[in-house]
Symmetry: D2
Subunit: 409 residues, 4 copies
């Protein structure tokens, strides 16, 4: 039974069914409206104000399209399509303020990821109750959303190199930033999905669309997600959260408190703290500068191979010593991602299975990415080492960083 | 001298010059990032998270294009183009949280508009200092931005039926809501601008584009700005601000305090109030429900002619009495606008001057809107009377409202 | 069984099934590739080279979407959807070279329309054989394609104010001309289709999309179909065909000959004629000038009400006399259409039935166009009287036309 | 002085100046309307009916934008911009029917290219007269259009890896085929053009746009230009022209005759030939089948490295012998192009010069394509060997081809 059509600029309409609407209308889900999809990117791309809320709806929509395509091919039934939609809707429910930034602090302090929090929220909050009361198996939804070896291709619908997640975020981030790097022909990819040996496969005719999507992802990382000014804002906010955490207890992991944390709430909270110690003074200064867009300056940047990546703290010390600047004014940022999307179990994706249909016969062939030149060209990890400082120390830190790291920018 | 190209999904690039960048980088301007362009519309159109910040940049850009087109025709010089861009950039600087909602409260309590506040902010804040130090005349900028009979066609570039303001907001609101009603061929209109008797005129070849734009505006009002669920959220927030104002002093008009007020700040503020009187309890409840999207239900709706519009308070009393519901749970909303854009001096626009070029000769002709059938068809004001209440009183208030206002929905 | 996905810029993919593919692959259908959708419009809008072939595929696609939507609501079954797709595919099969131009000559000489020829081609050519062999009822397809009172709403899917034909041609013509007047949200309209009293109806939420579509149609007529230079080219070709017909027998109505006639074939044929009489000399000159874009000049234009429309021939005589120019160099063109689309039986459409869904209940309401202001504003017929002549007689004919028809252009 | 704005779906408006309009209005130029941009691609992508005419206007437009950008940077003056626009307008004037197909026959028979014919047409036809009378130097225009070492970066504006030609054709072919592989951000590239050591260079910020454009080109070759069914149609037409040429003298190189040759003219001509020898019978059969889309079937396909490419004739003999099919029913096609665009002098492009602007300083750096991973991945030539035959011999020829060429498809 249809409940509602939500209008969405990326997918025109997103049809929402009954249980989905109940989840969407819960305060825990509504809070995603106040968590920006791209943390601090709006300070560089002003229109990038979109939130995890719209993205979550979009992933549900695309996952539903993918699941329906596989249902037509006999790999899934209607109930499974409904499960997959719910899992997709909830795949980001565990995200906290500033999305991956907060997750980074959580990882440092508690060794937990947004997926771990998502699991807890689905199982232990009113969301689990809604699922159970509507006849869904909340434990199954968790497995579909966050990975389980028994549901491999279903997991791949939600995350990985052919996933609804990626197809939504690349399009949505491209649309809202205006970066236009994200030209994703997701309808052709969806229409070409297949399953082979319990993994997602693709009809050969959609290979060009796949190539373009992988290039878009690569370019979006370079132009948006790892843009040096975007990262500058994020480095500032990350530091502010770390510094304030001891006093505020952002990372206490009390679910009731956790769900209050949204981007603006965290900024306001930090701005309202008393200045009774150096850490809080610094946190407030950072939040103020973030809000007024007085961002750190990047004085050194280098693309590195994995093995070049030294640990950050000693480098920060060295640069601070050399430049005779307080360490608190030197920031070392290493942005690292796999250039190719990871599998649901966070391993490197190494190949894609293509299905060629010839005179009625289907032949599946697993093609290593190394044999698809365009994709192979992006196979290396993207690792960017950057040194930031405040405007006033720009020159000094630049000289120190270059002297330590070698000037060949 | 170019300073910066800002990427924007509507206009691709927005080129920003030196003084403009200084203004944009001031905290007073940066705060516009935290004032949504469409107040509560994102609760109905989830992607409509865009802010006055991007819109202000966009209006500057379009006004610059319009001014450049008129410069090519000899009506303006380079300095005037620069003045117009600055005026356009600042035309919304006076807006407070929830844009027109807060303005409505200000109007009730202080009889001042966002333009009045804009004037004060330009003249009395650091923005005025930036302008003066860069050699601009801040008083002139105020006149161009907010209207002055001596600068008629320049005012019309900024507001009115051929304005940069409208061309940006219709496109931007259509893009971010996904409503798609807003199909504006602004480049053709810009390219066709002319001046006749010190008013903006249009080349006849762009008449269809003008018709389409006016229809888009009309449809955007009906589908978005006056959408019954959008208004529901806004009626709630309006009431919450009114109720909290006495305690919080939102409308104190201290400029330093004023510029702290942003959408999320106001919601957080209200949520953090003590519940020591009925007004504050109600304000908090409304803000909570707004945040969690538990919106009022519309139980009565009628399109009215201007003269049908009764004052709201007596009607509210009557419905409350009849339904035996506390008046605090009954809300009467009248959304009223001119179907056609007003002139900069807030009068009805009644005609457009079209320039026909024939065998090298230009002939100007003022065409009353009544002679352009499509435009004439939208000439009536749009007045919508609605009654809202909470979910629990839905049925009772519906019966009362229908009995009092006549059931012919 | 899917046979093929054809890539199309308007609809992304057009899925084609077995019998459809057989029809498409017949020479009679392939010839539509060589009949431009917009006759001579490409001489004004250079990119408008698109043909009846793509349009026919597009109408099949949209009609299939509409039929599927009605199938979901229980008004049609799968077999009927297949019939409707075939009828839509074939709705323009009777068109000859230069589409409506040739039809105009056929009407004058033989009193037959493209629909009459379509009927004959479906019943009497290999197309009928393909249909019959594949188990389709060719007589039924003819009724669905060209109208029959027993299949009212099905006919309306193919032609009329909510038809697949219009939704395809407005989008396609807008896309290929670049005129951009055609902003049609056809997916929303399709998704909102309903049936009431055996006529097509529309969900009320799609009313704005309907308004916009009707405005687009109105603007496309004014900006493209009846553009004065577009009509100039068409008036020339029309005259050339008339003049050559006696010698060539274009209108002989032998089906085998008829299906050889395509735009370029007709031009080449006329260019290759011997010049052994005045008519042929004039036909060749016109075809030559058409091909080299030496078009007639419009020297008089007036929008008329129906009753002003005098018969053309006497007017031509009068202007020729008055200007002392040979009648052969004076052309009177009257472009006439209903501003609102006609019904399948070629009557004025006067209303639309809107379905409002409220708390689960559906209420149908027939709304006269006179009550929908935007639509009402376009209710008058569009009648344009124009006088054309060659460049050399421009001045003389202009004076004569103005003196006879009154100079108030 | 502006003369005219032509509406174009790719560039919105194409502004045309006086001399340009005179050239466009000459029959030699008008004939480009009847030469499809993509020869036989419309038989696979039905909407690809666009012609060299629109493309030529588009290249003029983009070249004008590029030249204006370089004028702003001081590398060109207004007169040079006008020259470049004219050269760009005329860069394809020498193309004959079916564009590159006819050129292939001309190359075989007369060793001349479309550029050679372009030179002759500009110097020796009325086009040269128009140029001279309007004060332009027709010899200079020829150098700018077709290459001259003294005008290196100007030549590169017209052809090569940053050229107006490529930016127009990729966008236009993507738009009209609907293939959507062609996502070109040409405005950003144009805006980022620079000149370094008399070659075109690019601002570093546009590198991603360059990468995407090169990928689009690569994908368009694979998906459209070298699509196996597209090539099938072209192989047929090529053979038909070759077979008929002896009788008809298509390649006589009489300019007056040459300019009559258009796509449909050539097909009609062949169809009207007497069948008095085997060659003409075969030519007619091929033209008939081409027109009715009864295309050859591809029975063998292999991507080859340059050195694998054997000469075609012996291979054709071998396959014919082996399969015992008449050689006339076996076709060997080798589609070969450089994966990266060539320089104006038809050499491999090996690098791009990027300009980085840092703290006001510009640093130029020539980056070998081998250091840009995405571009490097496409550096190999694209060479596709295919064997075609008619439907009836499909199986036999497939077996023979596989046995001779090795079955590892």
């Amino acid at each position: 039974m249809t409940v509602l059509d939500i209008i969405d600029p990326i997918h025109d309409f997103i049809r929402v069914y009954e249980t989905e609407l109940k989840i969407i209308d819960s305060p825990i889900f509504q809070r995603l409206r106040r968590i920006r999809q791209l943390s601090g990117a709006h300070l560089t791309y002003p229109s990038a104000q979109h939130s995890r809320f719209e993205h979550s709806l979009g992933v549900m929509h695309v996952a539903g399209q993918a699941a329906s395509a596989l249902k037509e091919n006999g790999f899934l039934d209607s109930d499974q399509v409904a499960d997959i939609r719910l899992a997709a809707l909830l795949h980001d429910i565990g995200h906290g303020p500033f999305s991956h930034l907060f997750e980074e602090v959580l990882q440092e302090k508690k060794k937990i990821s947004h997926e771990d929090l998502g699991r807890r929220l689905i199982l232990d909050s009113e969301i689990g109750d809604i699922l159970s009361k509507s006849g869904f198996n909340k434990k199954l939804i968790v497995k579909l959303a966050f990975g389980d070896p028994r549901y491999r291709f279903v997991n791949e619908i939600i995350s990985g190199s052919l996933s609804a997640d990626m197809m939504d975020y690349l399009q949505r981030d491209g649309y809202f930033t205006g970066a236009e790097h994200a030209k994703i022909d997701h309808k052709r990819i969806i229409q070409s999905l297949d399953v082979y040996k319990s993994r997602l496969a693709l009809d050969r005719s959609a290979l060009y669309s796949f190539e373009s999507m992988i290039l878009s992802r690569y370019q979006m990382f370079k132009a948006v997600y790892f843009h040096k000014t975007v990262r500058s804002a994020e480095v500032m906010m990350l530091e502010a959260i770390r510094l304030a955490d001891k006093s505020v207890g952002f990372t206490s992991l009390d679910l009731d408190e956790y769900v209050k944390l949204t981007d603006e709430f965290v900024v306001s909270k930090i701005l309202s703290l008393p200045e009774n110690n150096e850490n809080l003074r610094r946190a407030k200064k950072l939040a103020q500068d973030y809000q007024n867009r007085r961002l750190f300056k990047c004085v050194f940047e280098r693309i590195m191979t994995q093995k070049d990546l030294k640990s950050k703290e000693p480098l920060r010390d060295k640069i601070a010593n050399k430049s005779k600047i307080n360490k608190n004014d030197v920031f070392v940022d290493t942005s690292t991602t796999s250039s190719l999307p990871l599998t649901p179990s966070k391993e490197k994706t190494k190949s894609i299975t293509l299905i060629a249909k010839d005179s009625g016969k289907s032949i599946a062939k697993e093609i290593p990415f190394s044999k698809i030149p365009v994709v192979a060209s992006m196979a290396e990890s993207m690792n960017i080492l950057r040194v930031y400082t405040t405007a006033q120390y720009r020159k000094k830190v630049e000289i120190a960083a270059n002297s330590i790291l070698g000037g060949q920018k």
